[in-house]
């Protein structure tokens, strides 16, 4: 009887704590690192990944996910599951649709609609080149998508921005997860 009582109380505590400590990755990706200061990457976590919070130190959470334990920056997480962008749902729920589309524009420059519009309004080659240039820096963080061409039809060079480039931007500016982070054992 005593054993059952203990077991029930334990199950109750476990239940409540599991509810309170689940978090989701809300950013496009989050770096799971061994230590907030040293930042050795364990793995990248995708948006929507559910993680279990273990503890907190300043703006960092110690979490566990799929057998890995490490630290993740607080603002990359949310207590509720992030919603799927409806504009990507229309692409059959493919979360990489946005990147694939932008990568494709590296090949052709303007979309078919953009080209028709430009023709109908007699928009000059110069202005088309401006638009190609405007969208020539393409952020592709998934690693599963790549730009198809290095130059658009109008001769504008296409540049890929990777997740490392984004992380470097934060590090150079000592921003967010690269500001004065705590050292932990």
């Amino acid at each position: 009887m005593q054993k059952i009582r203990v077991l029930l109380i334990f199950a109750l505590i476990l239940n409540v704590s599991a509810l309170a400590d689940s978090l989701y990755i809300k950013a496009k990706y989050a770096n799971l690192v061994n230590n907030p200061r040293k930042k050795k990457l364990i793995k990248k976590l995708d948006r929507g990944t559910r993680v279990e919070k273990i503890s907190k130190k300043s703006k960092w959470y110690k979490i566990s996910v799929d057998g890995s334990t490490g630290w993740v920056y607080k603002s990359k997480t949310s207590s509720s599951e992030p919603s799927i962008d409806p504009s990507l749902e229309a692409q059959g729920g493919n979360l990489l649709a946005g990147e694939e589309l932008a990568a494709g524009s590296g090949l052709r420059g303007l979309s078919p609609l953009g080209q028709k519009f430009a023709q109908s309004r007699a928009i000059t080659t110069r202005h088309r080149k401006f638009m190609d240039y405007h969208q020539s820096y393409i952020t592709i963080t998934s690693g599963k998508v790549d730009i198809k061409s290095k130059v658009t039809e109008q001769g504008i060079k296409v540049i890929k921005i990777t997740s490392k480039d984004l992380d470097d931007f934060l590090e150079e500016g000592k921003l967010g997860e690269y500001s004065d982070a705590p050292d932990v054992e």
């Binding site: 509810l19 599951e81 504009s87 303007l110 953009g114 519009f117 088309r128 921005i161 984004l166 500001s179």
Partner: protein, 329 residues
Amino acid sequence: MRQMLNRKIIFTSFILLLASIFFMVACESASSFLNDEGTRKLTRSAGISDKVMGDASTVMEAGGKLVEAFESFHAAFSDMSIEDERALGESVSLQAYASPQIGAPIHHPKLMFFLNRMANVLAQNSERPMIPYHVAIVHSSDFNAFAAPGGYIFLTSALVLNLDNEAELAAVIGHELGHIVKKHAVADLQNGKAWEGFGKIVEAGSKVTANVFEENLQEFGKLVTEMSGQLIGSFNQYDTSIELEADYVGVQCALDTGYDPQAMLSVFEKLKAYYPKDSKTHPSLEERSRRVQEFIAQQNQEDLEGLVTRTGRLERVKQWIREDLDWQP
């Protein structure tokens, strides 16, 4: 007696366990309800519904199906795929480049690399982090920034040269991200003729897509002209409630990225100094400033520590702008 007590404890524990399971299931249901597509649509339109209704009543008095047409178009715009949204935004941006107020983009690889990394880093912390964003600084003496659907952001050279630190640039880009994230571009279209044609098509049962735009190119041209004209108009073109929504996204993204959100307030001061005192912009900026201050006051002290205002990088950006001649490709 002891046995009875034991039974009571077991019974209470069992009830508590059941209650906790019930609570968890209820939480899951509530969460799935909040993430439900229908509910999300309501949430998405919440910020602009007043304005739409305001427009609607005026048009209703004029007596027409324009209200329905606009609502159909507005709903269709909210439901667009990213491919179609980008195609629309691209055309609006092309029209902007073709207009006399907007000059060439600053043609500088380091500046473009810096700016586009910054916008996409900020967007990581928005509600719409899965689409790529593109930003350029264009030669213009207007003090302006605007965003076209699908992820296109324009900043004028005059605006960026007037900023004092990187956090102010983050606030401006964050605000423009807000317009894209919340899909504000059609919220303030004043000219009924611009969307009437598409509203009728939607009424007939077809969705507004890039293909529908292509098949109705003349109507599409009117819509794009209206939209780009409105964006180029001035920094504070939208209704105050819409600007507030974009401000909120902007300061939230800036804060989550590690920038001091106070910078939004100093940008407002610069806008006040730029616009004449009698313009409608001033009272709106007062209200926006108050609301941003409230937002900052609501944050945890810990989250406001270690934030960045200056990095020295904006000075390089300004130097690259000053060195750039009008690009003649």
